[in-house]
Symmetry: none
Subunit: 415 residues, 2 copies
């Protein structure tokens, strides 16, 4: 069974609204093992809707349509479905009862003529009561294929999906089982990563597929398996992951929806350790990542953002000689920043970053993208140099993630 999603709404085609409905639906279908062939967004235009329905029926077995069911003039999905199925609208009493209940519960008063029409549905469909809104869902069957029309309001669509459609489809299609797992990596680009793990990738069995999902500073690896049972597939995937873990132990920081800042936060919490940061080129983004995790105040004390050399000296006790002799972007200074911060904040760990984010400030010796990161702990201070790219925003992001990953590695061996 193959599914397809059609999202109807002018707002999607002018870039005013991101199509999160389709993403949610695809995720839900994926979880019950029904692959989605295509997601199509089109405007509230009858001819375009009919063309899309024809194409979708040619490709797929189940077509989920959202949007265009409201009471206003630009909502034309229902009329279009009537002409597509060569039928007409009929009044559906249970949907009208639902409408009355909704009006009563929300104190909306009389139901106008325009809104009464919301209880009308094409004669050939099975109406699906929408307990969270006024437009019913509609289930159509034709030549062994299914088309479902749903409101575009996210929680109404989700309600009808969860109540009727997902259970119904799962029952119809119980042969195919799919499971997947995501591996989070940091510090290595997609292409170099693919070379490092090429042999491992080539040895994957036919029923397990690998996808690379790159983001600035991170690459997620998604393994999708097909088989008889979810348990069996997940076991197979886990075996492959444990081999991978040995290949790139430094790069893998987590699984599923883990973020690096969550993983670091968990490690600090478990070990009852405290942290501070001292940032120059990352300008607060590292601290922002750390404090975006709820409960970060349990381990995070604070940060000094030392954008000028004066501040590095006054707040972090970096020596004026080091600043003069080596410059702010140097091993010496970044180490003094970490050590100074650790002492002044009185924490177990301190992470410091100093670099040239760009676009200005680069030299031949220290081009834009040069970043030094240091970590101080009771066992001393270590520093590492990175060469990132030319884009200010991404340099800030990559430097912050690299700093978190260095800290993560330190936390798993040290302390």
């Amino acid at each position: 069974m193959i599914a397809e999603i059609i999202s109807i709404g002018d707002e999607l085609l002018v870039g005013q609204v991101v199509n999160t409905n389709a993403t949610w639906m695809a995720q839900q279908l994926h979880e019950i093992g029904i692959p989605v062939r295509q997601i199509t967004a089109i405007a509230d235009n009858s001819a375009v809707i009919i063309a899309a329905l024809n194409e979708a029926f040619a490709h797929s077995d189940v077509i989920l349509v959202t949007g265009g069911l409201g009471p206003t003039k630009d909502d034309i999905t229902k009329r279009t479905l009537c002409s597509y199925f060569k039928t007409e609208l009929v009044f559906h009493q249970p949907s009208f009862e639902n409408l009355k209940k909704l009006y009563a519960a929300r104190g909306w008063g009389e139901i106008s003529e325009v809104n009464r029409k919301q209880a009308e549905v094409p004669a050939n469909c099975t109406p699906l009561i929408n307990h969270l809104g006024s437009a019913p869902g509609m289930w159509f069957e034709q030549d062994g294929k299914v088309l479902v029309s749903l409101p575009g309001v996210p929680f109404e669509m989700e309600g009808i999906m969860e109540e009727y459609i997902l259970p119904h489809l799962a029952r119809q299609d119980n042969q195919r089982v799919v499971a997947h797992k995501t591996i989070q990596t940091q510090g290595i680009g997609e292409s170099y990563l693919s070379e490092l793990i090429r042999e491992w990738e080539e040895e994957l069995p036919e029923n397990i597929k690998l996808a690379y999902l790159p983001q600035p500073g991170m690459v997620r690896l998604r393994l999708t398996g097909y088989g008889e049972s979810k348990e069996k597939i997940l076991k197979e995937i886990d075996e492959r992951i444990s081999t991978l873990q040995k290949l790139i132990p430094e790069q893998i920081f987590g699984y599923g929806n883990d973020t690096l800042e969550q993983v670091v936060g968990r490690l600090l919490k478990e070990k009852h350790l405290t942290l501070c940061t001292a940032e120059s080129c990352t300008g607060g983004f590292l601290a922002h990542l750390i404090t975006s995790v709820p409960g970060a105040s349990d381990y995070f004390q604070g940060s000094v953002i030392a954008y000028s050399n004066n501040v590095k000296h006054a707040f972090l006790t970096v020596s004026e000689e080091s600043l003069r002799e080596f410059g702010a972007v140097s091993e010496q200074v970044v180490k003094e920043m970490a050590q100074g911060a650790r002492l002044r904040f009185n924490t177990d760990f301190a992470v410091s970053v100093s670099g040239i984010a760009g676009p200005d400030g680069g030299t031949i010796e220290k081009p834009v993208g040069t970043v030094w990161i240091a970590i101080a702990s009771k066992s001393g201070v270590t520093a590492k140099k990175f060469m990132f790219g030319e884009h200010r925003g991404r340099n800030i992001q990559r430097a912050s993630l690299a700093a978190l990953n260095l800290l993560r590695m330190k936390l798993t061996v040290d302390s």
Copy 2:
């Protein structure tokens, strides 16, 4: 001229990634007056890609394709385009030079055989150099129609769109005259804003349309006008904007793609003033916004992120009595934070934020979302209380933007 967008990537079809690329592209095309007929997301599957291309060429004049251009095995767009256009890959020296530059700048060492292939393009295309990444864009023409293939990494796609594709398409399609202007507002929600400006909105002429584009803490208002000449439309739009400016002077902080941090940065630079921040609940996000602007080091000295009371006392000279008596989230403490920071960093202005971002830490008197913001300057210190919502991430964002907007207002009257 009608456009269509095809997004290629397995991750879109399993609901792992929201298709923000397509939304961005649709918005850009809409802004230069080219309507988007359809957005289609499909998997990295050759047969499905070819079917989608056939359908798109039947509907539309310009087809923008993203994704599947990476060096890994699952990226098959380039091969598929070759078989679609019945051509083969050829080596493109300028793309290889770009690749070499990229490798040199990032210190990635030797270019492997796999990565060298990134400089190969179908023989019938015009390659578009990708200055921000390794996969070039590709411009194809066939039977008077255009197909463009772009990398799926958002900033790389955006770079090539802005540098080549949007200007080129705008030049090809100059019959329809459309012009627009965006007004940036801060500090007022979409629905309250729409009430405030309802009369103004109702008086807009037929040929000028208003769209609300809400983001956390900000609402952009986009005015789109249609007419005979761009100059005439822009003149009409400007007249409407000057009326609006009188209605909501505090909320409007800029126009077009202005960000609040850029506007604040410009004001500081013009007036030769310096700034520091002292942050508690925003955890570095305020400093991050300020330092995301290139050249921020001209006016920004640094920040103390005082996540614990000890740090507020030790680094910002907040008195222990005030912390004890009023608590960290109070008018008294936030004022002392701003004054202490201003003295210690020796700047003209200091902005401080202290609040409860959530999800924990709220009380009946000070619920989650309570935030105090203070601004200190030579003319003294002022503070304002805000009540935001329950969502940690959005509270951090809204508090940081509110702080910047307070500073902006101060900078336009004070100093």
